[in-house]
């Protein structure tokens, strides 16, 4: 369990590591941005303003060839002209091809990434941890069966399996009302947040096996411990032992894995949205995909900026994961080194 020693280690490691500090700052900023998106965003991220499309970010001006269709003498003619496009200080990160504010889209995209990352990880852990603990504790047939299922599961790349499942099941999403907007605090923002629920379920189902493997390994080594044997001799039921003794002692590596998994699932979610297998259009991966068509015509920012957002979030979470691993590892030494 989280003892005073663990907290001391965390603090010590944190003081000594500049990277851990950067990680924590990044992660906290992203959580704040995602939570208070309606206040951070400057525009409704879904509002289109076609007369303000493809504006470059502040600090960059862009020469672009624009083709437009005009009626000349009753005929439609395509006219191409070279225009100098100046940024609008109202749109710091510029606008996309439909004139939507990129900054606000990045802010709202943080919600999707974080929600899918955290919920997907929780689901994967909720399935994987009990299965792994039961298998490792009881060994025998249950364990053998689990290990075979895990082997088969690992043979399919997460992305391929997720794409197959979402492609076949469809792309369902649920609308969750935004409390700030409902309360009237940010009236111009979208009323609800679209959670791509199929994506959450699929990434959870695809990644449970990592949790099962770690939980099983911990249960295997803990089942032989003296205090577990003692509880058994005193007549405690297996489930009670797992809940009271095995789980609390297995929790540290599960937390470390969970952190890394949030980062992995954020990357997976962005890949899925990029390929068009998501239920929402407010996602960093989706914006990278829509900006891709404009890379060759000079509108580099539509694809670039969301990628930096993904990179910064994943770097932050990975740094946090490294910190937790380095600080918590002494407690799990002696059961084989970390991979």
């Amino acid at each position: 369990m989280v003892s005073a020693r663990v907290i001391r280690n965390l603090k010590k490691e944190f003081r000594n590591s500049a990277l851990a500090k950067i990680g924590l700052v990044l992660v906290i900023s992203i959580i704040l941005v995602a939570t208070f998106a309606p206040f951070v965003a400057t525009h409704d991220p879904t509002a289109q303003q076609l007369d303000q499309s493809q504006l470059p970010p502040v600090g960059f001006s862009e020469t672009a060839e624009r083709t437009s269709s005009q009626m000349v003498d009753g005929e439609i003619q395509t006219v191409t002209e070279t225009v100098e496009i100046e940024p609008d200080p109202d749109h710091v990160f510029g606008t996309d091809s439909l004139g939507r504010d990129m900054f606000s889209r990045i802010v709202y995209g943080a919600r999707t990434s974080l929600a899918v990352g955290v919920l997907g990880t929780l689901l994967a852990a909720a399935v994987g941890v009990p299965v792994g603990l039961l298998a490792g504790y009881h060994r025998g047939t249950v364990d053998d069966a689990l290990m075979r299922v895990a082997d088969v599961s690992l043979a399919f790349p997460s992305l391929v399996l997720a794409v197959a499942l979402i492609g076949l099941w469809g792309r369902a999403a649920v609308d969750i009302p935004d409390p700030f907007v409902v309360a009237g605090l940010a009236p111009e923002m979208p009323e609800s947040f679209v959670l791509p629920i199929t994506v959450v379920i699929v990434v959870g189902l695809v990644n449970w096996v990592w949790f099962a493997r770690v939980a099983r390994g911990e249960a295997l080594s803990l089942r032989g411990q003296e205090y577990v044997k003692a509880s058994r001799a005193l007549g405690a039921s297996d489930n009670a032992i797992i809940l009271r003794h095995v789980l609390p002692n297995a929790i540290t590596p599960i937390i470390v894995l969970g952190t890394v998994q949030v980062a992995a699932i954020i990357l997976l979610e962005s890949s899925l949205s990029f390929l068009g297998f998501s239920g929402t259009t407010l996602s960093w991966g989706f914006d990278i995909a829509q900006g891709r068509d404009y890379v060759s015509s000079g509108q580099w920012w539509i694809s670039s900026i969301p990628g930096f957002a993904i990179m910064l979030s994943v770097i932050g979470i990975n740094l946090l994961g490294d910190w937790l691993r380095d600080a918590l590892d002494p407690g799990i030494e002696g059961e084989g080194g970390a991979a």
Binding site: L19, R148, V149, D151, V152, L154, A155, F156, P157, S158, L159, V160, V163, A164, L165, G167, L168, W169, G170, A263, L267, S270, S271, F274, L275, G285, I288, G291, R292, V295, S296, W300, S303, S304, P306, G307, I310, M311, V314, I315, N318, L319, G337, A339
Partner: protein, 330 residues
């Protein structure tokens, strides 16, 4: 247990996993809403037409018969016909496989060639600028979505500098080999091949480059602190010999195992890299077959992907057991 028995046991285990892969792929169709008939039949098809299609595809048979027939045909190398393209699935899938293997190998070569020296340098010059550089680079590498990296590479090297191709696979590695003996100029063909494969290989390889750098660095640090290294130093063995012959070799064994397990990530990454660069491999085939509900092609692709994963891991374990005989008795 002898080495031979270990290999046999591991191979049989692998065969069992392949059977599981096939079963999961077969079952996937039945946990999916909508009948596969919809993919083939016209929207206004009469019940009679639908029935005829079901009979033709064998979909009116009981499940266990369908499963048995599927396994039986698979053993004969028959994966059925594409619903959409009217081609044999085996031909389609194996026609696309070389492009994906070529891409994955090129990415692995880029990754390994850069990461192992970088990891070793980082560990042997700990807390020097090169260590910080390598740490930052690898942190960025494991945190960057490869499809985005691909687009950024296109933006810089293809749009701005116009030195690489951004889509397709105009020249393959076979053409390069042929030009050695044939009439085509070798260097011209090689350059043309590099123009196609360089950007996708970097986009796909960067994550692995970063991952292996991290693994090599921490593994080397671990090994260099061990007793045998100190003993070798005390004996007066040269640093390079200790580092490269002893420590690096012991570091690489676990690295290889992790890489075997990461093969799935490599294939998954290839799927999306192929989508960015319109690379005509298995990944683009998977996406197309999902979008068009072309069941037999999706099933065939998934089976080939799953089986390759199992095959490579059996090979990795065999090499591992050969290098480290203790594993055999584990």
């Amino acid at each position: 247990m002898s080495f031979g028995r270990f290999v046999l046991k591991r191979s049989l285990q692998g065969l069992g996993v392949v059977w599981g892969v096939v079963t999961v792929v077969f079952a996937l169709r039945f946990v999916t809403p909508g009948s596969p008939i919809n993919a083939v039949a016209p929207l206004d098809a009469s019940p009679e037409t639908r029935q005829a299609i079901a009979t033709e595809l064998g979909l009116d048979q009981p499940l266990y018969i369908q499963y048995g027939q599927y396994l039986f045909k698979l053993l004969q190398g028959d994966m059925g016909f594409s619903y959409i393209r009217g081609q044999e699935v085996v031909g389609l899938v194996f026609g696309r496989l070389p492009a994906t293997v070529e891409l994955a190998l090129a990415a692995s070569i880029v990754a390994i060639a850069l990461s192992i020296p970088l990891g070793v340098l980082s560990a042997t010059r700990r807390n020097e600028p090169i260590d910080y550089g390598a740490t930052l680079l690898s942190l960025g590498g494991i945190s960057t979505p490869n499809f985005w990296l691909g687009i950024m590479l296109i933006l810089v090297f293809a749009v701005e500098f116009n030195v690489f191709n951004t889509s397709g696979r105009g020249v393959d590695v076979g053409d390069v080999a042929l030009s050695l003996v044939g009439s085509e100029p070798f260097f011209g063909t090689l350059l043309a091949w590099l123009a196609y494969i360089t950007l996708p290989a970097i986009a796909l390889g960067t994550y692995f480059m970063a991952l292996i750098t991290r693994l090599t660095r921490s593994g080397m640090l671990d090994e260099l602190s061990k007793g045998y290294v100190q003993a070798a130093r005390a004996k007066g063995l040269p640093q390079t010999l200790i580092r490269y012959k002893h420590a690096l070799r012991n570091t690489l064994i676990p690295v290889i195992t992790v890489l075997g397990l990461q093969l799935g990530t490599l294939i998954g990454g290839a799927v999306i890299t192929e989508a960015v660069f319109s690379w005509p491999g298995l990944g683009t085939l998977v996406i197309e077959s999902i979008n068009r509900r072309d069941w037999p092609v999706l099933q065939g692709s998934l089976i080939v992907i799953g089986t390759s994963f199992v095959l490579v891991n059996v090979l990795v374990d065999t090499v591992y057991a050969y290098l480290d005989p203790q594993v055999v008795n584990d």
